[in-house]
Every structure is written in structure tokens, then in C-alpha cells.
Amino acid sequence: MGLPDASGDLSSEVEVDAFRRLFPLRFYERHLSESIRPDGRPLGRARDTTIALGAVASADGSALAKIGSTTMLAAIKMEVMTPSMESPDEGCLAIDFHMPPICSPIVRPGRPAEAAPVVSKQLSDTISSSGMVDLKELSLVSGKAAWMAYLDIYCLDADGALFDAALLSAVSALSHLQFPVVSLNEDGRVVVVSEEDGGKPEKEPVNREKRKLTLKSIPFSLTCILHKNYILADPTAEEESIMETLVTVVLDSSSQLISLYKPGGPVLANTSVIQVSFSPLKHTL
């Protein structure tokens, strides 16, 4: 073996792991030119996805969603509020996304991750614009009491495609949500009817029938990386850190576009690229 000349043959001299760390972009481009990714996936394939409902017993609805090793835990706690004057027969849904320090080496306690508020806003925008939840269903007594649904999503393991996993877990938790049976007490406060009372509460429960939300359309999302003329579906954290241009497409169950999000990046997306990023998502639906 002679001296490694300038760049081309360097890879054969250096061990694969070292090459991956030193020249991450070149490492990826080599793979991409062979239409394969370092984890063995073809470019358009998303990672395996699992959902478990009812993971948190102390919540009224909860779900654990995993995309590859990205793990999200979403749970809903129902509280009671007085509805506003403008919309006396509507409840409220508050969505919050958290990245606790356990999820990634870049998050430290006291210094919240930059990505968290971005994903949080994206989630509440997507869920409100999809019209999935009818806020009127969260009403208890018109003008007096309504549900305030606190939907909190925790990222337990961050390995790319955070928004996709967060949306999946949020939607699953909403589908698992079951309202507690409540009645009005003498002071006009809403209290839970406990089943231990022997089945004869002093007051008739206000929501005997309405125990579940009817979800109208269900949004799904897919994040893709654009790099040169390659499109990589469902990126890992490593891929996201190396190739910066991301496109997130959200469709609902009838293939209607709900949102399209491209936060800058060096690659410009044109119509054809966007259309291509739709197709793997349609495939997963």
C-alpha cells in the first residue's frame, strides 16, 4: 500500500468508525450514492413504529410512541375551567412539549432545548388547524364549566424526527382519552363521581354518555431530509445534525394537506421535491 493520496483513498486507510466521525458528510454521501443509509434502510423507508396506549395510569389518556429509538410519552390530564365569555360552550386544549435532560446529551437541567418550544408550537398549530378535536365536545355546562385538557408530551429519547413522533403520541393519547364522570356539587364546583359511593350520587352526573372524543380527521406527519438531490425519509438525530435541510409534511387520514413546514436550510425545495416527499407518507397511510 502506498501513501494515501490526498482525499479519495483516505477512507480505505482509516477505520470506518473514525472515518464516520472525521468526515461525516462524506461518509453519508458514499452511502447515499449506493441508495442505502448507514443503518441499512433504503432512502425512502421510515423506521419501525410502535404505539402503546394507556402507559400512564395517573392520567386520563396516555400513549407511548416509538419511531426507531425516538420515544415520546404523551399524557392528558383533565381539569375544569370556566369558559370565556366569547365561547361559553367550548373547552380548551393546552399542548406542551417537553425535552427533559434525560432525552439527549445536549439538554442540561435549567437550560431548555431550543427545539422544544418550536415543536410545541408546531404541534398545537397542527392539531388546531386539522380540526381533529371539536372544542364543543369539551363543554360540560354551557357558560359555567368546561374541560381544560392538558396534553403534555415528554421526549424520553431523542433520535431525530421529533415532531413526527410527538404528533403520533399526541394523537394516540387523544384517542385513548376517557373523561371522568363528574357531577355538580352544591357550591357549583365540578367533582368526580367516584364509583365507591355505592352507585347513588346525590347529583346526577353531567356527562354520563359523553366519555370519549370523536376525532374527525387524524393527522400524520413525515419529516424528510433534503440533501443535494437525495430525499431521506424519517431521519435519525445523526442525519439531522449533518444534513440540515428538513421538510415536514402533515396529511390527514383522507390525504388532505394540513401543514407543510420547511425551516430554511441550504437546499431549496421546489415543487417536484415536495411532491416526492409526499409519496412515502401516503405509502405509510
Binding site: E79, P100, I102, L135, S194
Partner: protein, 257 residues
């Protein structure tokens, strides 16, 4: 949808009102009562451990004791914060936080400073800090669901996560707590029992070396009762450590295959 800033109405949990008026389940006098989950007084909840819960961490573990569910991630050894002074030995940094839905009434998900420092003190003595000079090991815990005895589950889970991360320790650290209810001692109390307890005793120890790293006693105790309680806890700790050890062995044997 999430409410415009400043317009968020005040909310309350509908279950709060009933919680306050609920009668005491445990009577003061010594009648026969059963624990809320039907266990014997000296019986711990079934423990479940799994290492490698978080891929992006150097080491991690998940623990489930009844309804108490926690995840602990370990990062490092890595560079200490810039503001830190030079140190010959390694540093340990601990943080415990709760999810907003962990407690029966929705919390703020804030940091638990007191638990963080307790966790730090419980682990400090077991870790061989000399093996990673100038650097820091971060131990972060998140309580997914609080079902009682949260801190001792966090401590046991954290020592397993440290072992998973390959941080050198003198021994695994196991922790068990005990509540005093009237005349009875109940081991591994659930949330309901903790709220009615007259006193509590927590032991954190390294069972193979028979050394205690942390002992905390609150409430009113008589000496014979302390002795009885400590013996109960130490026995439970050594059994717990056996479960933890078998979890580690399982993890390595499956990864070798």
C-alpha cells in the same frame, strides 16, 4: 387553541374536592387492615428493571415498582462546566424531575432540588470518583408516574444506570423505605400510605459490602422500632440488589448473543 398568552383561565382538578373529605383508611387503633394493594406489611412491590432505556445516553435504566415508574439517564464522563474549579477527582451531578402528569393532581413538572441532593448524597459514596478526574458524570432522573417511595426507586434505578454506563462503583446501591403507621411498620409504602404515615425510614446501602450510604429517619421512633425497621430495610435491600444484578447479567448475556 392552547389559549392566547395571558388569557389562560384558572383551572382546578375535579378530583381534589373528594380527596380532602375521604376518611382515613387506617385507623389509629390496631385493628386488622389491609394495604391498598393487598400486600403484606413486610412485602415489597414487585420490582422491574430494564437497562438501556435511552439510546442517546451513555447508560440508562427504567424501573417500575407498582405504579412508580422512573427513567434514569447517565451522561459522561464529560467535560465539566466552564465555571467549575479544577478537580483531581470526578464530579457527580444529579437532577430529579417529575412529569406534569406524574402526580394525581397536575403539577408543574419542576425540578425537585431536595430529591436531587438526596440522590447525589446517596450515590456519591458508591462511585469511584478517582477514575474520571476533571470530568463530570451527569445522572438525570425523570419520574414518569409517582406511586409512592419515588426517591428510593430513583436511587436504585440510578445505580443500575451508572453500571450500564460503565462507571466504576464499589457496589450497586439499593434503597428501600419504610413507613410507620400507628404500631405497624409497612415496607415500600404507596402514595396513600405515605400521606398518612407517622414516620418514615429510608436506607440506602451497598449490600455486598454491608455499608450504608444514606439513612434518613423522620417522625417519632423508639429505639427497638428503629432496629426492627433497619433490619427489615437491609434485608429488602439485599434482595433488591439481587434483582438488579440479575437484570444486568441478563442485559450482557443478550448483548453477547
Amino acid at each position: 387553541m392552547a389559549g392566547k398568552p395571558g388569557t389562560n383561565p384558572t383551572t382546578y382538578s375535579p378530583s381534589m374536592a373528594t380527596g380532602k373529605t375521604r376518611p382515613r383508611i387506617f385507623k389509629d387503633h390496631d385493628v386488622d387492615w389491609v394495604r391498598p394493594d393487598g400486600r403484606g406489611f413486610h412485602q415489597c412491590r414487585p420490582a422491574f428493571f430494564r437497562t438501556g432505556a435511552v439510546n442517546s445516553a451513555s447508560g440508562s435504566a427504567y424501573a417500575e415498582f407498582g405504579n412508580t415508574k422512573v427513567i434514569v439517564s447517565v451522561f459522561g464522563p464529560r467535560e465539566s462546566k466552564k465555571a467549575m474549579m479544577y478537580s483531581d477527582i470526578g464530579r457527580l451531578n444529579c437532577n430529579v424531575s417529575y412529569t406534569t402528569f406524574a402526580t394525581p393532581v397536575r403539577g408543574q413538572g419542576s425540578d425537585y432540588k431536595e430529591f436531587s441532593s438526596m440522590l447525589h448524597k446517596a450515590l456519591e459514596g458508591a462511585i469511584i470518583l478517582e477514575t474520571f478526574p476533571k470530568t463530570t458524570v451527569d445522572v438525570f432522573a425523570l419520574v414518569l408516574e409517582s406511586g409512592g417511595s419515588d426517591l428510593h426507586v430513583v436511587i436504585s434505578c440510578a445505580s443500575l444506570a451508572l453500571a450500564d454506563a460503565g462507571i466504576l462503583m464499589y457496589d450497586l446501591v439499593a434503597s428501600v423505605s419504610l413507613s410507620c403507621l400507628g404500631k405497624n411498620l409497612v415496607i415500600d409504602p404507596v402514595l396513600e400510605e405515605e400521606s398518612y404515615q407517622d414516620g418514615s425510614l429510608t436506607i440506602t446501602c451497598m449490600p455486598s459490602r454491608y455499608e450504608v450510604t444514606q439513612l434518613s429517619i423522620t417522625g417519632e421512633w423508639s429505639t427497638p422500632k428503629i432496629n426492627e425497621g433497619m433490619q427489615l430495610c437491609l434485608d429488602a435491600c439485599s434482595k433488591l440488589a439481587m434483582i438488579m444484578r440479575s437484570c444486568l447479567k441478563e442485559a450482557t448475556s443478550t448483548s453477547q448473543e
